[in-house]
């Protein structure tokens, strides 16, 4: 029996309505318990205690991320990690190697990270890399927005069959949530085209992105999956695209029956562009946050820009081609048969660029104008808007107007004149930060064991060396950044894995996936699937499946669907 008592910390546990009270947290065998009998003591007096960080959207592993690593040796040589007696070596600033990714998240107090996209055909690759990503519990979202089977089921309005297919593909790929990227657009990209808006039909398939989003949202609810559909909207990264984002959110309004979210709009900064072209480009954060403030069926994550040299990578092949044309930088594209596309372009966000600086402001405006932190989560869409290692910096921007003003003074003058960011006084509290960086994300993911410190939760805990009673944090953004950069302690399953920002113990996390127990009455699609499978793919059905032994510590979440 391993017991630990975290004593005297200022505990932030918003799910249990604990807001900075001095409390003890008892841990036994990796779980939080009521009481311990003879525990070791971890003195957290004068420090902040929070649940371990949760990341709902981060490209950390898989085929596309690895192509990014391959593409950018110049990104690696400037940021290296030496081998130590407990850790493996690694490299990479914007796209670190797998071991390094795990260690860096852990040093900041993060304990659960969801990989944002995997092509089902390459799911084994994703899982092999997840196995080599230590310190974290993790999962991955299969890309389903341009999948031929789904397009065909939805076109024929066969929702039960579609639900059975999604249940199957979650098992087949060991996936966690339904991910849509530029729904329909990636099929069009197979012939070098795209869809213009959510009512532009997909070539050869006679279905619109609207029908895909609505259909998958419906199926997602039928299956009772823990997370909502996770949507990267059409027209991402184009001026005026906030209209598309609004329409995407509006099109599932009717499905929000019980007041719970039904759609997660990811990296919404990239979907909140106003204006007609790059010259008239402006922030549409106002329009988006106003909608979100008045509706409860959506959650967002930020995709906050960092001024740095990073690597953009998404499944949105046509968008990456636009970036290639804009920058003239090196460009990788990889379309995956029957399923999806992807692209990679290195990108440098510059303070003095009007567009980049405006994008920076859009992210923060969204975070500050959306009143409820339970609806908008902190991410950088790592590494698209910047590496995840910049989270402490963003936390400082959110908590301190002073920190924001310091940046506003240095950005492009044109962007400065047009942003309303300098008029916003709001500063996040530590409790808000806990919600936006972990608690809200865990709830949106449906991970009941994460994101809180109540009895029964996994003992994933982050302890930061800041004293909210003695320090004036907004006046001292440097302190915030420093404290969140190097956690005083990170506890993974009740074990101390980080002390003073250094890894003291390497552990392997779990791989979460969704195991939908289809009922006997449900539709049997597998025989039909096997029949057409070889027409659609160049691999055999049997070889497509990811067996459970591909996951080092498999942790299936068993779901009973509503159908």
């Amino acid at each position: 029996m391993r017991e630990l008592l975290v004593k005297n910390g200022f505990v932030y546990d918003p799910l249990n309505n604990i807001d900075g009270e001095k409390l003890d947290i008892a841990i036994r065998d990796g779980k939080i318990v009521e009481k311990t009998s003879n525990p070791k003591i971890l003195d957290a007096s004068g420090m902040v205690v929070m649940p371990g960080g949760v990341d709902i959207h981060s490209h950390i592993v898989g085929a596309k991320v690895n192509s990014g690593r391959l593409l950018r040796p110049e990104d690696h040589s400037k940021d290296v990690e030496y081998k130590t007696p407990v850790t493996r070596s690694g490299v990479g600033y914007s796209i670190p190697s797998t071991f390094t990714t795990g260690y860096r998240y852990s040093r900041m107090g993060w304990t659960t990270v969801m990989d944002a996209a995997m092509a089902p055909l390459k799911a084994k690759h994703t899982h092999e890399e997840l196995n080599d990503t230590p310190m974290l519990d993790k999962g991955s979202y299969p890309l389903l927005g341009s999948n031929w089977f789904i397009l065909e089921y939805l076109r024929a309005k066969e929702y039960d069959e579609c639900a059975a297919y999604i249940a199957w593909i979650m098992r087949a790929t060991k996936g966690y949530a339904v991910k849509l990227v530029n729904p329909g657009g990636l099929e069009a990209w197979g012939f070098g085209r795209n869809v213009r808006d959510i009512d532009d039909p997909v070539p050869n398939f006679d279905i619109t992105p609207r029908e895909i989003v609505q259909g998958l949202c419906r199926v997602n609810r039928m299956l009772n999956l823990p997370h909502t559909i996770h949507v990267h909207a059409n027209n991402l990264g184009k001026p005026g695209n906030y209209v598309t984002a609004l329409e995407t959110m509006k099109c599932v309004e009717g499905q929000a029956g019980d007041g719970k979210p039904v759609l997660h709009l990811t990296h919404c900064q990239f979907s909140s562009f106003g204006g007609r072209d790059w010259r008239t480009f402006r922030s549409a954060a106002e329009e988006i946050s106003e909608y979100v403030n008045t509706h409860n069926h959506v959650t967002l994550d930020l995709g906050q820009i960092i001024f740095t040299d990073t690597t953009t990578m998404t499944a949105d092949g046509p968008f990456q081609f636009i970036l290639y044309q804009l920058t003239g930088n090196k460009w990788v594209n990889c379309d995956v048969e029957t399923e999806t596309g992807s692209g990679i372009v290195p990108f440098h966000y510059k303070r003095k660029s009007f567009v980049h600086a405006t994008q920076w402001a859009i992210g923060l405006e969204l975070a500050l104008k959306t009143k409820d932190p339970w609806k908008i989560f902190l991410t950088t869409d790592h590494p698209n808007a910047g590496p995840f290692t910049a989270y402490p910096k963003i936390i400082a921007w959110l908590m301190s107007r002073k920190a924001r003003d310091a940046v506003i003074d240095r950005i492009s003058k044109r962007a400065r004149r047009r942003t309303v960011l300098d008029e916003i006084d709001r500063e996040y509290t530590l409790s808000d930060i806990a919600v936006t960086t972990r608690v809200g994300q865990a709830r949106s993911l449906g991970l009941n064991r994460k994101g809180h410190l109540g009895v029964g939760a996994d003992a994933d805990i982050a302890i930061y060396d800041i004293n909210p009673q003695k320090e004036d944090l907004p006046a001292n953004p440097g302190r915030i950044e420093k404290a969140f950069k190097n956690a005083a302690y990170t506890l993974k399953d009740g074990e101390i894995v980080v002390r003073d920002g250094k890894i003291v113990k390497a552990v392997d996390g779990r791989t979460f996936w969704v195991n939908v127990k289809t009922t006997p009455s449900s539709i049997e699609i597998e025989p039909e699937l096997q029949k057409v499978f070889e027409e659609y793919y160049t691999v055999k059905y049997e070889n497509y499946l990811v067996n459970e032994d591909y996951c080092k510590n498999s942790d299936p979440i068993v779901i009973k669907p509503k159908i």
Binding site: V61, A63, N66, S67, R69, L70, L71, R72, P73, H76, S77, V80, E81, Y82, K83, P85, R88, S89, G90, V91, G92, P96, S97, T98, F99, L121, K122, K124, H125, E128, E129, D132, G190, F191, G192, N204, F321, Y324, Q325, N329, K330, W331, V332, N333, C334, D335, V336, E337, T338, I344, E535, Y536, Y537, T538, V539, K540, Y541, E542, N543, N547
Partner: protein
């Protein structure tokens, strides 16, 4: 007797996964869906004449049989004592073994490099220069109406590539063109016969049609699949092509750049480029632009001929240019069945695809400096571990000579010049026949390799051997108080 279905083939980068293998009494006795190369391997791998069956150590110049424990200890000793050891091979084993190999290289501060250093290394360097627009092979099967093999002869090197993924495959939007190819082959054969007959009877030469035509054949006016082969000689693949372009040796770069200019509507003020008339190239450029989905495949003929990386830069840049006009992709024809996997695993663990140097305590990459051929040519390393490869017979002479001068460990299921010259030989199993695991196809689609028969009792998998060496190395370092 049992039949194992859906077997992935442990030979080339095409990694066909539809093999049906008949196994009887722990022997492979029949194969289905295999090419000749694959069949030869699957039926003959267990030939005892060339199989390594016992661990061997060189003592006083003689190889003697020893126990596994002793052989592992000796290997660990060699590696732990070395200052700058090299670990090379990796493209004919599974990803699990490669992971173990990287952990070992890191532990001993050595250099780990895979065979792409001598085949598609230039392609990788080129991707790092300019990127690459590519796709998985199924995308080509479903959509491509123009297929170009450049300096690559799939009929000999990747025998089922054309049938499974390109010109002869059947997809959703494009269909197999094998019937028209058969007709064309018959035509060519008939002309050859006629020519020979006239030679014999009329004592008169009826000239065969020119190797390269003056204009595009009629099939280019249809929306059907077209196959172009570009090579320095008329290969078997070229005989099946709609159009064969015979490029002068070492002139690929000129030809690619000329096509880039033509694709950008520039005018060429010469009559001939790389031995090909410009007016034909203009038509080819039009065909490249006019297709709805085009695919380039290139082989070692482009990566290892004059220009190397620059050839690939030009080929990828041409593909990128074409994407402004239509959809075009490009893909290297990878050789060994898991050479792509060696790059993939190395990249996710170390950030770099090959030539990774751990001597500073973190991964460092500088091909030319940290690539094994160059290290050996300069004589810098002081021990070697070779897994599933035969550098002694295919490295440059100077490199091979330096390799055998130093203590050398070879992990291989079969005897090769490398195992003959080695100081320790560790008999391993065949991945994909006797050992399961993961391998990556040339388009980096991961596929599970199957275990068909039990390996000889005295052989261990590459992964297990490496695990034992790593454990022993750690033990040795602990004894010496180095950790």
């Amino acid at each position: 007797m049992s039949i194992v279905k859906n077997v992935a083939c442990p030979v080339c980068g095409t990694l066909c996964d539809d093999l049906e293998i008949t196994v009887d009494g722990n022997r492979v006795i029949g194969t289905k869906n295999t090419c000749a190369v694959s069949e030869a391997k699957l039926l003959n791998f267990s030939d005892p004449g060339h199989r390594n069956l016992k661990p061997l150590i060189r003592r006083d110049g003689e190889m003697v049989e020893v126990s596994w424990d002793e052989a592992i200890k000796r290997s660990a000793q060699i590696l732990a004592e070395a200052h700058y050891p090299i670990l090379y091979g990796w493209s004919c084993t599974n990803c699990e073994a490669i992971r173990m190999g990287i952990a070992l290289a890191e532990e001993i501060g050595g250099v780990i490099d895979n065979t792409s250093t001598v085949c598609h290394g230039p392609s990788i360097l080129s991707i790092q220069d300019v990127g690459i627009p590519t796709c998985t092979l199924g995308q080509i099967r479903h959509r491509a109406d123009l297929i170009v093999y450049w300096a690559s002869d799939p009929y000999s090197a990747h025998p089922r590539h054309v049938e499974r993924y390109t010109a002869f495959s059947d997809g959703r939007f494009q269909h197999s063109e094998w019937e028209s190819y058969v007709a064309r082959l018959r035509g060519v054969l008939g002309k050859k016969r006629l020519s020979r007959a006239s030679e014999l009877t009329l004592m008169k030469d009826i000239p065969l049609p020119a190797v390269t035509g003056e204009k595009l054949p009629p099939s280019f006016r249809t929306g059907k699949r077209k196959l172009i082969v570009v090579d320095v000689r008329k290969t078997r693949s070229a005989e099946h092509a709609d159009l064969f372009l015979q490029v002068e040796p070492n002139k690929d770069f000129e030809l690619l750049q000329a096509l880039r200019l033509l694709v950008k509507d520039e005018e060429l003020e010469v009559n001939e480029i790389a031995g090909l008339p410009v007016h034909l190239l203009e038509e080819v450029a039009d065909a490249l632009i006019g297709c709805s989905f085009g695919a380039f495949f290139f082989g070692v003929g482009l990566t290892m001929s004059s220009g190397k990386t620059r050839n690939i830069d030009a080929a990828i840049a041409l593909t990128q240019d074409l994407n402004y006009r239509t959809k075009f992709v490009i893909m290297p024809m990878r050789g060994h069945f898991n050479v792509a996997g060696a790059n993939v695993v190395s990249t996710w663990q170390t950030g770099y695809p090959f030539a990774v140097d751990f001597s500073e305590g973190y991964p460092r990459y500088n091909p030319g400096e940290t690539s094994v051929v160059d290290i050996l040519s300069r004589g810098e390393s002081d021990a070697g571990l070779i897994v599933a490869s035969d550098p002694v017979s295919n490295f440059p002479r100077e490199a091979a000579r330096n390799l055998i001068k130093q203590p050398l460990i070879a992990i291989d299921p079969v005897a090769s010049p490398t195992t003959v010259m080695a100081d320790v030989v560790l008999p391993s199993t065949f991945v994909g026949i006797e050992t399961e695991g993961t391998a990556y196809r040339m388009d980096r689609v991961p596929l599970p390799m199957k275990k068909l028969v039990e390996p000889p009792e005295t052989c261990l998998s590459d992964e297990e051997i490496l695990r034992r060496i790593l454990k022993e190395v750690r033990h040795l370092k602990e004894v010496r108080g180095e950790t």
